[in-house]
């Protein structure tokens, strides 16, 4: 039963801690504008060259055009393909993208295991020969799990060695960052070992059934090690720098692409007005003489 509880805990921790992290960023005070062009949500005729509403005379008198489609397309390019790295550092992109694609595929794999688990609980076996949705789920699980596991393992260990042998990357990599990559590799490698004994991922669906029916997970030594490592990494990721999936959302949406002007009568004006009522929570202030002559004086 320990493994069942631990798995629950790790899933809750992964999503819970990620959301907590996001909430911490979300509740930070409204910051001064710090956008950077191109901003993909600018009007269709401007965004391709990085233009903005500031190119129009009396922009403040004109309705603001915002292209949410442009924003979503750019966001997807960045999320799904790591576009910036592809454009600016093709050589590193291959290995880095392999790792990330592996993770995306493993999310799909986990979702498919979950669906497979539900199908099995409802009485239909998910097998290679099953027809209809059960067969479909079987093969998608197989493909995403196999490809995801291999890509993650190759990507993580590839990045690990790249960071060891590339002089510049090595110089800027802290020991814990090597550890993170190795941790991911270890999870993928143990997964591949377990998988090699059960190509159809039936063990995965059994785990899902155990989770769905709240019953003990049956696991041999290799599977136990894999479950423990996978659970541990899920608890660890949101607390480490690997939670950059949270940061990335805020960096782009709330900083680089956030260019809403504070126009009279606008929603933004209300938010700005509101922010004037802010009461400091601490008594701290900056100490330089031009800001706080008292502090400078008392130190003399």
């Amino acid at each position: 039963m320990f493994l069942t509880l631990f798995t629950y805990l790790s899933i809750i921790a992964f999503f819970g801690l990620s959301l907590y992290k996001a909430a911490q960023f979300a509740k930070m005070p409204m910051h001064g504008r710090w956008e950077l062009y191109p901003v993909p949500k600018e009007a269709d005729d401007k965004r391709h060259y990085g233009g903005s509403f500031y190119e129009d005379v009396e922009y403040w008198n004109k309705p603001r055009q915002v292209s949410h489609v442009g924003e979503i397309v750019d966001m997807l390019k960045e999320m799904l393909f790591i576009k910036n790295l592809f454009v600016n550092q093709r050589r590193q992109w291959w290995i880095c993208y392999a790792m990330h694609l592996g993770i995306y595929l493993l999310f799909l794999w986990a979702a498919m295991l979950f669906v497979g688990g539900i199908i099995e609980v409802s009485g239909t076996a998910v097998t290679a020969t099953a027809g209809g949705i059960a067969g479909f789920v079987y093969y998608i699980t197989l493909l995403s799990g196999a490809a995801g596991g291999i890509l993650l393992a190759v990507g993580a260990i590839g990045m690990f060695f790249k960071r060891i042998f590339d002089e510049t990357l090595n110089k800027y990599t802290n020991p814990n960052e090597f550890f993170n990559l190795f941790f991911l590799f270890a999870v993928a490698a143990t997964g591949l070992v377990v998988w090699s004994g059960d190509i159809g991922f039936n063990y995965g669906r059994e785990i899902m059934v155990s989770l769905l029916t709240f019953s003990p997970i049956q696991a041999d030594f290799a599977l136990t090690v894999h479950i423990l490592l996978l659970g541990a990494v899920m608890i660890y990721i949101p607390q480490s720098k690997m939670s950059h999936y949270v940061g990335k959302y805020f960096s782009f949406h709330k900083v680089l692409w956030e260019n809403t002007p504070n126009l009279r009568g606008s929603e933004m004006e209300k938010i700005v007005k509101e922010s004037f009522n802010y009461q400091p929570k601490t008594k701290t202030s900056w100490s330089a003489p031009h800001i706080n002559p008292g502090a400078a004086q008392s130190e003399k």
């Binding site: 001064g32 190119e55 600016n88 550092q89 990357l169 900083v255 009279r264 031009h290």
Partner: protein, 539 residues
């Protein structure tokens, strides 16, 4: 120390970095002897300032502590300032962007290739965009969590001594805050922002900032009305001189409207223009008057100088000046403010200080560039003869106007209409390179800092200029013009053209956009730009 790492910043060495392999320049600067060498730091500078980073001294108030107490005090103050960056009360305006860039760097090094300082220096390690950021992270980690083994594992492996602090205080002024690196970061992080946050610790906590930015910059502007020291009376005199000059040049009496209550437009210049490039406000005068616009200048405190150096180093100073500028406009009762050709003033007033006022206090601010496009291209208000500008012209994109505000096309559309030999630099638009004068460098001239600017931070721009003019660069009879619609950029470009003697040897000139427009006006007999006046057969 050729293999320097961020953790070596506090090491007791005479100089952590020596620039050795400057990026080569294109012809005719590819031959030996075409550029002056670096000036070695003098012993007295070494004794009193921080010349132990790369041998340049840019931060002229960062003086070397003499006693052990002073040294400890410097470290203590730095650390207390560092903590304030993480506090929502003291870093309210930048907490979120700061925390994101501070926390998430994946050290993928993608940003390095985007940085002109790093590339120009021949990839000197300390100028790699993440170097500075990593030093800051290590200091914080060590300060917060101590020097245990676990903490070293997490990156807290650096000595925090006064030398580390001083070097970081200099290194914060080896970045133009151009944010080109941030455009390439897969995680949307910003090493320029972190450099500015470091500057804030020094200025806002320790009272240390280069004199041209602080003492004779924002402090002087708040005290006298302008960082140039021009008072109201001096400003009014300058306007009279400008009117006289205009009469002499055009034969027409222009009256500059000053303090006209209720005007449609309050036009604000960088006050440095009146002294260094009076032809620029003069050309604006002609354009506004000939277009029949209802406009005015302000002679009110701070109303006649749009600069806001707070943008470069200090949030509090930035806000004070931004608020004073809005007040001057409100007092005049104008409908809108138009920023003339000054990049950082554009960004400061329209972007950085956009969220400091509401309602009637929040006077709309616009760029002059769309207005110029409207007058010249869309409404064709003036009679222009582009053949008067028939010489090679290239355009510099000021980072603050283009990369940080998205104003890309209006200036190009104007140039295409008035300059038949207009050609782009490579790259251009939002991907442009900084002029090397960004973030205050253009006005920082202490000790040997100008060497760093001219030979390193402006080097990429000089290369781009040479490349844009490769067809005629060695033809000294053909004038060539770098159009830079920004005071700061003009300052940096003026200095590189002088330093490399590009004007004297190769007839390369620079100036704003409005001068070219006025130069094309058929109603005037004489060329508007001085370098063309000896060559009157052009007209």
């Amino acid at each position: 120390m050729s293999k320097i790492r961020p953790q070596d910043m506090g090491k007791p060495v005479e100089q952590v970095c020596q620039i050795e392999n400057l990026m080569p320049l294109p012809a005719p600067y590819d031959k030996p002897g075409m550029e002056p060498d670096f000036k070695a730091p003098k012993d007295s500078w070494k004794e009193n300032y921080c010349a132990t980073l790369d041998g340049f001294v840019g931060n002229d108030t960062l003086t070397r502590p003499k006693t052990k107490e002073e040294q400890d005090e410097m470290v203590k103050k730095f650390l207390s300032g560092l903590e304030k960056l993480f506090n929502a009360d003291t870093n309210r305006g930048m907490l979120q962007p700061f925390m994101l860039s501070f926390e998430y760097c994946a050290k993928c090094n993608t940003c390095a290739d985007a940085c002109h300082v790093f590339k120009s220096s021949g990839e000197a390690e300390i100028y790699r965009p993440i170097f500075r950021s990593e030093v800051l992270r290590k200091i914080y980690q060590k300060h917060k969590k101590g020097g245990s083994l676990v903490n070293r594992f997490l990156g807290g492996d650096i000595d925090i001594n006064y030398e580390t602090v001083m070097r970081l205080g200099e290194l914060a002024y080896r970045c133009n805050l151009c944010r080109r690196c941030a455009q390439t970061c897969p995680l949307g992080l910003d090493n320029g922002l972190l450099a500015r946050e470091i500057r804030k610790i020094f200025s806002m906590e320790m009272g240390i900032a280069p004199k041209p930015l602080h003492e004779s910059g924002t402090m002087k502007q708040l005290a006298t009305g302008s960082s140039t020291g021009i008072t109201k009376d001096a400003f009014l005199d300058l306007i009279e001189f400008m009117e006289d000059d205009l009469y002499e040049l055009t034969g027409k009496k222009y009256k500059v409207p000053v303090d006209k209550k209720g005007a449609d437009i309050l036009l604000v210049h960088n006050a440095g223009e009146y002294m260094a490039w009076p032809e620029n406000p003069a050309a604006f005068t002609i354009i506004m008057e000939e277009a029949g616009l209802n406009w005015t200048l302000s002679s009110d405190m701070i109303g006649y100088d749009n600069v806001n150096y707070g943008l470069f180093y200090d949030d509090v100073q930035g806000k004070k000046i931004g608020a004073a500028q809005l007040k001057a406009a409100k007092d005049l009762g104008v409908r809108r403010i138009i920023q003339a050709e000054c990049g950082h003033a554009h960004k400061a007033s329209m972007v950085s200080q956009d969220r400091i006022a509401v309602g009637a206090d929040n006077i709309p601010r616009e760029s002059c560039l769309p207005l110029l496009e409207e007058l010249v291209v869309k409404k064709k208000v003036f009679k222009l003869d582009p053949s008067r500008n028939n010489f090679p012209v290239t355009l510099h994109d000021p980072c603050n106007i283009v990369r940080m505000m998205g104003i890309v096309q209006p200036q190009r559309n104007v140039l295409k209409a008035i300059a038949p030999q207009f050609r782009e630099m490579t790259p251009h638009g939002v991907n442009n390179y900084c002029c090397g004068g960004g973030s205050g460098f253009a006005i920082m001239n202490s000790f040997n800092f100008t060497d760093f600017r001219n030979k390193v931070s402006s080097r990429m721009k000089f290369k781009q200029i040479l490349n844009a003019f490769q067809d005629t660069i060695e033809d000294e009879n053909t004038p060539k013009y770098v159009c830079a619609p920004c005071s700061n950029c003009k300052g940096a470009i003026r200095d590189i053209l002088e330093f490399y003697q590009a004007t004297a040897k190769f007839n390369v000139h620079y100036g704003g956009l409005v001068e070219l427009i006025v130069n094309a006006m058929v109603q005037f007999d004489k060329p508007f730009m001085e370098f063309l006046r000896d060559d009157e057969d052009m007209f």
